[in-house]
Symmetry: C2
Subunit: 402 residues, 2 copies
Amino acid sequence: MIKKVLKFGGTSVGTIDRIQHVANIVSRECKAGNKIIVVVSAMAGKTDELIKLSQKIADDFNKRELDVLLSTGEQVTCALLTGALIRLNVKAKSWLNWQIPILTEGEHSNSRIINMNVNKINHFLNEGVAVVPGFQGISKDGDITTIGRGGSDASAVAFAKLLKADTCEIYTDVDGVFSSDPNKIPVAKKIDKISYDEMLELSSLGAKVMQSSAVQTAMMYDIPLQVRSTFTDRKGTIIFDQQNIDYSKSVTGVAYSKDDAKITLIGVEDKPGIAANIFEPLNKAQINVDMVIQNISSDQKTTDITFTIKRDDLLKTREILKINKKIKYKNITHNDKVSKVSIVGAGMVSTPGVTYKMFRALADDNINILAISTSEIKLSVIIDEEKTLSAVKKLHTIFDLD
Amino acid sequence: MIKKVLKFGGTSVGTIDRIQHVANIVSRECKAGNKIIVVVSAMAGKTDELIKLSQKIADDFNKRELDVLLSTGEQVTCALLTGALIRLNVKAKSWLNWQIPILTEGEHSNSRIINMNVNKINHFLNEGVAVVPGFQGISKDGDITTIGRGGSDASAVAFAKLLKADTCEIYTDVDGVFSSDPNKIPVAKKIDKISYDEMLELSSLGAKVMQSSAVQTAMMYDIPLQVRSTFTDRKGTIIFDQQNIDYSKSVTGVAYSKDDAKITLIGVEDKPGIAANIFEPLNKAQINVDMVIQNISSDQKTTDITFTIKRDDLLKTREILKINKKIKYKNITHNDKVSKVSIVGAGMVSTPGVTYKMFRALADDNINILAISTSEIKLSVIIDEEKTLSAVKKLHTIFDLD
């Protein structure tokens, strides 16, 4: 008997018809003899609707009460899905955050699940399906907390971890993880198997199939994930440990992010602590710095530092650099119309020539590389934004992903 | 320092603007130095919307899960109103059914509040306003329960009772309790003070301002009620003990119910237990019998029994009487187009001639009385339905209520 966590996102439970469809999926899993925990999101659009209501009252609506408000979204789905299961003669019961309870720590609207009473749920799983709300829990003081947008993925993985489930299936509105954005690159293909690391690189680079922190937790506790579509019977993408994957291809996917900006500080005085002095104030201002590249400059006494940020943060970043007394540099330049294109693949490290192949391909298409950053399973370049799609297409082709 | 329970119904919190208006009322009460518990209903239409969702899944949607579903309605209002109060710099906090907790007994969708942890709330009232959901609680097993439609009134009175509040104010969309239906009888006037008994007779007779069981509880524990409008500053109707009322008028109000039917069993064998034999099967079939009148018939050995029921139950009632082997009667007649008109007043018992005055007035207008029933504070007659409004108007006038 296998213990499974099945998670259904907002579009999967967006209408009554879809909830009944989900009930059929769960019923089938149940009849196959599995122990099932179902984690549900709020019906599509519901959370936004509730947020809008709160904003009509106050932009800075009290965070504790916002969590009380938003948590009703998943509660509604829990009740409706459980009713639909019972209608299909499946023994099922909704378990709310306080009924389990699901214990969280951290601030309102940004909490983390740290524990839960597993005995009650485990005991019930011998009898029927437990339907639980994603995205929420309670604090040690007994207040309702939520764990941030998209937090139902994190809930699902936390449940899988705490209940020692054999697998965690993320049902969503796409067929799985693709080698690139299928809406923009029509030849992009679904990936059958992918490692946690690759998935993390892909999702943090804009392939928004699953929340990154949920993948990280799954990796940490070695919980096999499967991302699959609620609306087809097709197999999805299995995400698991790198060792279980046979790499016939060096590159798994091509990702890109838009709306980036690049800043270069030229002739920075090269002494210990200078990078910390630059980035600490940016971090305090909650500016998310992505790539950082540092080169020795021509005079060997100073250095050039390039980094990328989201375009919206450009003005604020320049202001902060201007008033920063701790750093000295000759000049500052920026480019606010850049994008980051990355190839990702756990097989890259063992395949010689990937780097060269990428640079050559871009050069052949007259795409100028503004900065380069590499990791074991990823190679990212900063290029002019207008060349983004042609670069992605080219790389997708030359690495045999079409 | 006075401790008040303020209850706001669905129309009073039906939009964000109205919720903000309610926040202003609560804030004013708070600044007057009162300790405030606010009981809220779901936003108008919300409960029906949720019920419709559940019915799309199943007509007999699981009752436990229906309560989980419906309870979200009041939770949303709780959070929004609390946020609106905090926005007005009023210290406030929402307290959900399980956070207090509010303990209920009885079946799902038809529970009764039996207890709650008053210490937590009382302690908090020293600091701020407690906003609590009406209509719900939890069972001893920790399941969410609801206490029937309109149950927020019952919640408010239960809170007033358990927290030993000085008063319980029911904010609604009418100015108070009227001497008759103001929509049909334009000269109907708001009653300033009324006794619990009168209120019960009026509300059970169709003047649906407050749920009857809530009034009963208030009477039992001597909790002064006030019914008033959320949308005007006018004083409402105070409902309290009969002794506190100075009766200048014998009759307080004229009520009526429609869609009634009358059945008469003629020549029923007169022996002990015959009434029980007639009504027991009707009760089992959940047919609500209203008035029952029994007369000795002309031959002194048999009796005639007349009773009224809702018109919708007429066919079913005749079927049940037909197959009832325990009773014998000569004939059965019915009239399916009758209504009940009642005068209500705690002063009636001490005012001679009220009965005669009523009968004379109806006779003067050629309104035939089909049956009569009296209690200490009420006198009801069954008449032809088409004469209902003219009878109500006439009685309203002759008892000086215009």
